[in-house]
Assembly symmetry: C2
Homo-oligomer: 192 residues x 2
DNA sequence: GTCTATAAGCCGATAGAC
DNA sequence: GTCTATCGGCTTATAGAC
């Protein structure tokens, strides 16, 4: 029945999410995913056309989850736009402080697929990052920042740089410094 | 004789450099590297203990090459610190405009090895990024910026964010916006 | 829709010759 | 220091049964 089909597919995506994020896409075999999901490979290939197909679905499923986390930390913080941005970076600091944190899954997947620009997972990564930047631009615009698009891009770049660097150095001081710079740029933009 | 040994080893590293950067570390086989270098696998394993060994040497060899490129664009530009930083971002714009550009090799390698924190290649990536940041801090300090370390880190984060994002979007507008923000932060820091 | 079994090939690494 | 040959295992994906 339909119910069972959906559960199985979601269980496979859940397993892929954990394994892909932990060890990377190419280092994770279909065998390992099927085993973790508790299904055989035959079942796996019933639900997914190929491993590439699963990779794309894995990233697409992460898009709204990550975006909602950003929005939540922003919306929950009361005060001016500088305070709200500070809250966003603080929530990233908290997320990246976990020992299980292994960088940004979108960045890492894009890195692994760098030689396949048309890959659906690459499009999913691009789409997600555009969504984050567009959300920032929308909020900045609503908070009276005239050059909202440019400022949003600058804040976005600081965030991405910190995510990338913290994967390499495992030092949360980078997201803090990124937050300081972001607040500086936003405050500066409000006054113009 | 020693001469021949050195040439062979360098030829293998050259081949690895091209293939690793093009397709990624895990997607590149030792077979493919040996073939491109024009040696057999037996010869490969005479010069390198393992594939992991080669990965580390590949990144270590890139450290000074990249760093010198940064320094050159900075030193060649005459004028104040803002102009020099603008020149650095402009040189990155030029480098990332090539169709063969596939992101930052250090970021991509670190992403693939995210689950192996002690891997020598991860240490090489960390070391390289620290060198870039430390070089910026040194220059900022010499150019009379009081909070040189913090400003250097902010500029570094903008650079890293742009490199990461351009791999995903293939849009050089990001390095331009990063450059604008960097100049803004540096100019602001000079005045304090 | 899920199972067992297996294809066909590529992976990193090694053996022995010279 | 470089060659040919090959190991054992893992890879994505498929075949046929129920």
């Amino acid at each position: 029945m339909k119910q069972a089909k959906t559960n199985t597919k979601e269980r496979i995506i859940d397993a892929a999410n954990k394994l892909f994020y932990l060890a990377g896409i190419r280092a994770t075999s279909v065998d390992a995913i099927a085993e973790k999901a508790g299904v055989t490979k035959r079942t796996f290939y019933y639900h997914f056309q190929s491993k590439d197909d699963l990779i794309a679905e894995y990233l697409s499923a992460r898009d709204q989850i990550n975006l909602k986390a950003f929005k939540a930390s922003f919306d929950e913080q009361k005060g001016d736009i500088a305070k709200k941005i500070r809250a966003v970076f603080k929530s990233v600091l908290k997320a990246t402080s976990h020992t299980k944190w292994r960088g940004c899954g979108f960045q890492r997947t894009a890195g692994e697929l760098a030689n396949k620009p048309g890959h659906p997972a690459m499009k999913a990564a691009s789409s997600h990052k555009k969504n984050v930047e567009a959300w920032l631009a929308k909020e900045f615009n609503q908070h009276g920042i005239t050059n909202a698009a440019a400022t949003a891009r600058q804040v976005f770049l600081l965030l991405e740089g910190a995510l990338s660097t913290m994967l390499i150095h495992h030092d949360t001081a980078y997201i803090e410094e990124a937050g300081h710079a972001a607040v500086l740029l936003v405050t500066n933009a409000v006054q113009h």
